[in-house]
Amino acid sequence: MDLKLKVWRQKNAKEKGKIVNYDAKGISPDMSFLEMLDVVNEDLIVKGDDPIAFEHDCREGICGSCNIMINGEAHGPLPGVTTCQLHMRSFKDGDTIFLEPWRAKAFPVLKDLVVDRSGFDRIIQAGGFVSINTGGAPDANALPIPKKDADVAMDAATCIGCGACVASCKNASAMLFVSAKISHLALLPQGQVEKKERVKNMVNAMDKEGFGNCTNQYECEAACPKDIKRDFIRVLNKEFILS
């Protein structure tokens, strides 16, 4: 199939960007969205143009690298799917597709569709861990954890840190991301000792990075490629109040 692409091109963080039109011809429905971009880029290079920079790595939907606003939606139209797992069979011949980077002040554009998400790392560095040094941990079965708690903690821990929640929120709030880590650790006995400090430190770091607040519209949940539930934001708020 043949498609028209309207792609955000921006040389670097300092220069202004703009939408540029490209044709994507002879695209197979079996291609992933990123493979379609590979085809377009190969053409651009042969023509002597600068290829479109975009972020990707595992292409299996788990590393969280890929991040494209596709027709205004983070990771495109399908629920629970990352850009790398979106296949061209989701589009029709002749479609026009807009490609933009994540839109958030806390995620500055580095080039084209690539943004700087290091704010997420700094939030984790502020407290998203259990303080245990290597060695000397007790036997793993010495601490039984109800299956239900372990399962919900796992659901929260599934967050891949891609930033779709931020990109899709009108306030660029990182509360779904933060709440996932808070909930994961707050649901487990290992996370209890530091839970008050953790939530305060992570929320402070989130504010410092310039992420906005939640206004309960849940665009984040709708955009999340890993189906992280908004209920975790409730857990975050509760833990924050208790701290």
């Binding site: 590979d38 292409r59 299996e60 245990i132 793993a140 821990a157």
Partner: protein
């Protein structure tokens, strides 16, 4: 130069404990006077960086992703082995050791593997203490499942996302140390060279992938945890960024590259759908616990699988290997799939696929249980193929997955280049000619959390503190100039072909001539063609853009240039190893029934290659493998 593996003397089960009791220690107050550089933040690099910083060393860590959380270890699905014997089904350190040696087709070093089995239990304790949400039983205790190549249930898992959860555990420990200022983290950077001073590794050359700036960093020791080289085949299950550059450039600086031809072929991968394909997606091996593998008994049978009655299906693994069945090791399952497809029984477009069928498990356990066990994998499959695996069987085919070769290391995980340590998939030590499922995660974390932190201390105590060289040293200057001139060379060629087109061409040769089955003829052919592609690359590659900003084509050019040299080394190693072993089938060497034929008389050794220049034949060194505790036997899973 002789290869001294430095295996401690004494009985196998006491080697590691005795070693730990007698190594030199660094006084806690002196640890901060040492700087260690770690390249890579996967399970091995992330856990090593965190642990070294916890001990008090200054750590500088580099990764090419935008965040250390995205290292490729995150993609591992099925689980991690540990000899906990929680299931009371007869597991032990010895049995895990035995299974791993056998799974590696008797081409791994006994002492290293035994140590791996010993520390495996600590890994689970450590990860649980960090909050890794492993699967639990209703009583609150950890759940286990079985995996290929084992008859006990020793695999711990977190849904189909075990690698992700273990990596996030290591990443959280690393993040804590970054927050405390004990680790200086450099994301979006790439290592371009190792700097060697007076025979010791003392630093690295780094390119910032955003600004393009090349800088040099000095240290008292360098740790490479940069993963494997499966992307030499272009199509593989590796992340797109996985590359050989760090280990290959260390090889060019004098570190020996061992067993490069040991690449693991994974049996359960989604088949290739067309020329546009950029990578292959693995379906976890854990699926083989409940999925049954079959092909139609009739060649070229294109009927809908549901219309093919039981009597017309060949469950070939269950037929050929009755005791292990669908859980036979990866190399055997892969080769069997290739055999049935080559014989014309394959299914799907092009006939390059076999069925992995869950219908009997769904009938027995219900769709709900299957969804609970493998839901995310089923979803992923449907996303990629457009077919619903609850309704129709999955189609799978083998693909390049993990690489067991890597830089040669001794028992201390130090390469022959003093001060250069190599851990995880980047070294060659633990998996022999093949590896079992759920064992690579184990090695990554064992090396990073529990082995390297001891062995590196021994080295650092020996060299002494206060000797970190200045980056003004001539070797640093020279390495920086060399790195810059290579980058400029790529940009100046201005040819007609893209970097990817060369990579694809190389990958096809590697897969066709040096894949699951290899012959003397196919390898010699590859050894003629690869230098030709390389020559054209240096004349006709087109790398657009500049070296002073984010330039993904330039990044790729460096990596593909290395693959073009490394591919030749891999084929040479395969040509030299005249036996069939692990996943590597030299067609000249097979039993009467078509099983792989090992040659213990001539090849019970690791081959370590020494660089002699581009196009020049590297020098072969051999480390004889001694099997004192396990009798060399023909591997049988029948």
């Amino acid at each position: 130069m002789s290869l001294d593996s430095k295996i401690p003397s004494g009985p196998l089960e006491k080697k590691w404990d005795d070693y730990k009791s007698h190594i030199k220690l660094v006084n806690p107050a002196n640890k901060r006077k040492y700087t260690v550089i770690v390249i890579g933040t996967g399970l091995a690099g992330g856990s090593a960086s965190a642990t070294l910083a916890e001990l008090g060393y200054n750590v500088k860590t580099f990764c090419f992703q935008d965040s250390p959380r995205r290292a490729h270890s995150i993609a591992a699905q099925g689980g991690i082995n540990a000899a906990k014997n929680y299931q009371n089904d007869g597991d032990s350190v010895y049995r895990l050791f035995y299974d791993t040696i056998k799974g590696g087709d008797f081409r791994a070093r006994e002492a290293n593997v035994y140590r791996l089995a010993q520390v495996s239990a600590n890994i689970i304790d450590q990860c649980v203490a960090q909050g890794v949400p492993f699967a639990r039983e209703y009583g609150g205790h950890l759940d286990n499942r079985s995996f290929g190549g084992a008859q006990v249930s020793r695999t711990f898992y977190a849904k189909g996302q075990t690698g992700q959860q273990l990596l996030l555990g290591a990443y959280s420990a690393l993040s804590r140390q970054i927050g405390l200022g004990n680790v200086k983290m450099y994301p979006r950077t790439e290592m371009l060279d190792v700097v060697v001073i007076d025979g010791h590794a003392k630093g690295v050359v780094i390119r910032d992938l955003v600004t393009g700036q090349v800088t040099v960093h000095s240290a008292d020791a360098v740790v490479l945890a940069s993963g494997g080289y499966g992307n030499v085949f272009y199509l593989s299950t590796n992340a797109k960024g996985s590359n050989v550059t760090a280990t290959f450039r260390a090889y060019k600086k004098g570190a020996f590259f061992a067993n490069p031809c040991y690449t693991q072929i994974h049996p359960t991968c989604i088949p290739v759908s067309g020329d546009h394909q950029s990578k292959l997606t693995l379906m976890s091996e854990s699926l083989r616990n409940d999925g049954r593998i079959w092909v139609p008994k009739k060649q070229g049978d294109t009927r809908n699988p549901a219309d093919i009655p039981e009597s017309e299906r060949d469950y070939y693994l269950e037929r050929k290997y009755p005791s292990y069945g669908n859980l036979c090791p990866r190399d055997i399952a892969s080769r069997s799939a290739k055999e049935v497809c080559d014989a014309g029984f394959g299914v799907g477009p092009g006939g390059q696929g076999v069925y992995l069928d869950f219908s009997s498990a769904i009938n027995r356990l219900g769709e709900h249980t299957i969804a609970e066990r493998y839901g995310n994998l089923f979803q992923m499959y449907e996303q990629i193929t457009g077919e619903n695996p609850y309704k129709v069987p999955m189609r799978i085919y083998p693909a390049v997955h993990y690489t067991m070769g890597g830089l040669w290391v001794d028992y201390n995980l130090m390469s022959n280049l003093p001060g250069l340590f190599v851990i995880g998939e980047a070294n060659f030590s633990d998996h022999g000619a093949n590896r079992l499922g759920a064992s690579a995660l184990m090695q990554g974390l064992a090396d990073g959390y529990f082995v390297l932190p001891y062995t590196i201390g021994n080295y650092l105590a020996e060299v002494g503190f206060g000797k970190t060289p200045s980056t003004d040293h001539a070797e640093f200057k020279k390495a920086e100039i060399d790195a810059n001139s290579q980058l400029n060379k790529f940009l100046s060629i201005k040819g007609k072909r893209t970097v990817d087109s060369f990579h694809k061409e190389l990958g096809k040769i590697m897969w066709n001539n040096c894949g699951m089955a290899r012959t003397d003829k196919s390898l010699k052919e590859a050894l003629v063609k690869i230098p030709e592609i390389r020559e054209e690359f240096w004349k006709n590659v087109n790398v657009p853009g500049s070296g002073s900003d984010l330039n993904q084509s330039l990044e790729k050019a460096g990596r593909v240039a290395d693959f073009l040299e490394f591919g030749e080394l891999l084929c040479l190693d395969a040509l030299t190893r005249e036996e069939s072993c692990g996943g590597h089938f030299r067609s000249e060497h097979q039993m009467d029934d078509g099983e792989a034929k090992r040659d213990d008389e001539k090849f019970c050794h690791a081959t370590a290659w020494e660089w002699k220049g581009v196009g020049a034949k590297p020098t072969e060194h051999r480390e004889k493998l001694e099997f004192e505790n396990i009798k060399l036997a023909t591997r049988s899973y029948k």
